[in-house]
Amino acid sequence: MSRMVKFLLVEDDEDHAELVKRNLRRARVANSVTHVPDGVEALAFLRREGNYPDAERPDVVLLDLKLPKLDGLEVLTAIRADDELRDLPVVILTTSDAEADRERAYEHHVNSYLVKPVDFEKFRQMVNDLSLYWGVWNVLPPRTDE
């Protein structure tokens, strides 16, 4: 049973955002991606504040670690502290495989930690698997707003 999986991509590097989006478009699972460039925008989107009064709640957040204003860990912490958002699946998507980053991400209850592969084929495979996993295999928490 396949369904449309909705991603929120939080990524300050426009090239990386485009790379993820283009690869998701070719993935075998139907999906939609909303891209925001920093942590403040991400929280505004999730809370339907500011520019995003009509934002739809995503199924999964793809979160970069190094972000301007609020970095990935701060966004993750805010999500886990927010009664409305705490059960939202969050996937860290970063170029860093530093031990300290991994440790802190899991301490803040991240659902998954992915390191962007430098190899293009692997990058594509990863994005495809990502959509497959979250769109097909993984059962999401029940949605209160549906």
Binding site: L19, D38, T95
Partner: protein
């Protein structure tokens, strides 16, 4: 014939039988060996106790002459012993100290005696021989300890309950410049005021009350103006009945040791900072340099697909992104290298002509400001000189001006002001802009390496990190004052003239 003047001993009355018995008991009971020397014949009578002292047993009597002793005598002491015997035959008195080989090893003895009459020539000398070894060793030990205490570099001082000096060693003479003779018996308060002030009021009464005080370090100026740090230990002196009769004071000059400790702490702090920096650098290489690499390989992959599909427009877009990523990577590497050069020992800080330095920076930046239609002002009353590294400070100011230009240009009629002033031992430099300002929560963060608030603006996020480093290696600091909507003022504070030893330039 010399005239008879007096009797040395009164003529003894004849002894009764009971007296003889008592005398024999006394002779046997005495801890001293008794002897009687018949000078003309050279015969010596030794009491049994003498035999016991020398042989450890009364059953091995020694031959009745001085040779018996001399054969057991330490060769160094024999000449003096012979001289003493010779003197006894002329003056009638004997006093000799010597070592004898006994059953329990070599021991010190003292023989004393006198002629019982003033006959001339002397006929008889009688006296005792005493084992003085334990006493002698104790005295030697005391002298030995006293010599150690005296030679110690620490000042060792003893005072009585009235704070009158009763002991003053060589270390105290050297440390306080006051001779033992001149201070013994004087109140400690008679010392030079600079010593007295620190020692007396608080610590001494506590020691006299029985407290042991250690680890106290006092700092003061010596008479010649030098700063001196003394580590003090104090404690009560008690007599045999455990009554406190005074206090001991041990003072050690720890001036150079403390200076060394401070230098070590400072070096440790620098080392830690460098280690953190290195860690940050490694993290950066793994993360920030990998990021454009992901972009490159990703878009080269897409580019191949675009070319196969004949999508020229998308292919061109991919190629453009690859080129930008490579350019950015190159810029990152350049900026990182520049950051690593700040604070290196090849360019030590010195006193710089600030007016000239600012003029050169402004001249260099002016065309860029004119290009963007922004005004660049220099505030009046710049300090004349600043202690810094020419190259580093120039780059820091250029960085701040570049940032100001980048953000101020979003506003109409942008104005950027560069200025400085002298304040409380430091030179403050500032760059003020009329840009959008920065929210307080980011005031610290923006000085971190690769921290960028607005990724739409060009830059790598190294500029402010290097400004902060330029300030910190000179023991100064950099910060920002800003209110959103009004503008921002970036500050660099540099200490006037740092102690060159304390800077990490000297040690690297």
């Amino acid at each position: 014939m010399p005239e008879r003047t007096r009797r040395i001993m009164p003529e003894l009355p004849p002894l009764a039988e009971a007296d003889v018995t008592r005398l024999r008991r006394a002779i046997n009971g005495s801890t001293e060996g008794l002897w009687e020397w018949d000078v003309p014949t050279g015969m010596v009578w030794f009491s049994p106790r003498t035999t016991l002292l020398l042989e450890g047993s009364v059953n091995t009597p020694i031959p009745p002459n001085w040779d018996a002793l001399r054969r057991r005598m330490h060769p160094d002491d024999a000449p003096a012993f012979d001289a003493a015997l010779a003197e006894a035959t002329s003056r009638g008195e004997l006093d000799a100290t010597f070592r004898l080989q006994t059953a329990s090893g070599s021991r010190w003895f003292r023989a004393r005696g006198a002629s019982p009459s003033d006959d001339h020539p002397i006929q008889t000398v009688a006296g005792s021989i005493q084992d003085t070894d334990d006493l002698r060793r104790a005295l030697d030990h005391n002298a030995y300890l006293a010599a150690i205490v005296d030679a110690d570099d620490d000042a060792v001082i003893g005072v009585n309950r009235d704070a009158v000096v009763i002991a003053w060693n060589g270390g105290a003479e050297r440390l306080f410049g006051q001779s033992t003779d001149s201070i013994l018996g004087q109140p400690l308060a008679a010392l030079a005021p600079w010593v007295r002030l620190d020692l007396l009021p608080d610590l001494l009464p506590r020691a006299l009350r029985g407290e042991i005080i250690s680890g106290q370090v006092i700092a003061h100026r010596r008479e010649n103006g030098d700063r001196q740090e003394l580590s003090l230990r104090m404690g009560p002196i008690r007599d045999a009945r455990e009554e406190i009769v005074g206090a001991s004071i041990i003072a050690q000059d720890v001036t150079s040791r403390r200076a060394m400790e401070r230098r070590l702490v400072s070096a440790g702090r620098d080392l830690r900072r460098r280690s953190d920096e290195l860690e940050q650098f490694v993290y950066t290489v793994s993360h920030d340099l990998k990021s454009p690499l992901v972009t490159c390989t990703g878009y080269v992959g897409l580019l191949e697909e675009d070319l196969e599909a004949g999508d020229t427009e998308s292919a061109l877009d991919a190629a453009r992104r690859v080129r930008n990523a490579v350019t950015r990577m190159n810029q990152l590497i350049d900026d990182l290298l520049e950051l690593s050069r700040i604070g290196r020992s090849d360019a030590p800080p010195k006193s710089l002509d600030l007016t000239r330095l600012v003029a050169e920076v402004v001249e260099f930046m002016r065309p860029r400001f004119e290009e963007r239609g922004a005004r660049l002002d220099v505030a009046p009353d710049l300090p004349d000189r600043v202690f810094a590294v020419d190259r580093d400070l120039s780059r820091a100011l250029e960085n701040l001006l570049e940032n100001a230009l980048k953000y101020a240009c979003d506003q109409p009629e942008p104005v950027v002001t560069l200025g400085g002033r002298h304040e409380e031992g430091q030179v403050l430099l500032f760059v003020r802009d009329t840009g959008p300002g920065i929210a307080p929560e980011y005031h610290q963060k923006i000085f971190g390496l690769f921290q960028r608030l607005d990724t739409a603006k060009p830059g790598t996020g190294v500029g402010l990190a290097s400004v902060a480093k330029v300030a910190s290696v000179l023991r100064g600091r950099a910060w920002v004052d800003s209110e959103p909507g009004i503008g921002a003022t970036f500050w660099i504070a540099l200490p006037d003239q740092s102690d060159p030893d304390s800077l990490e330039f000297a040690s690297s």
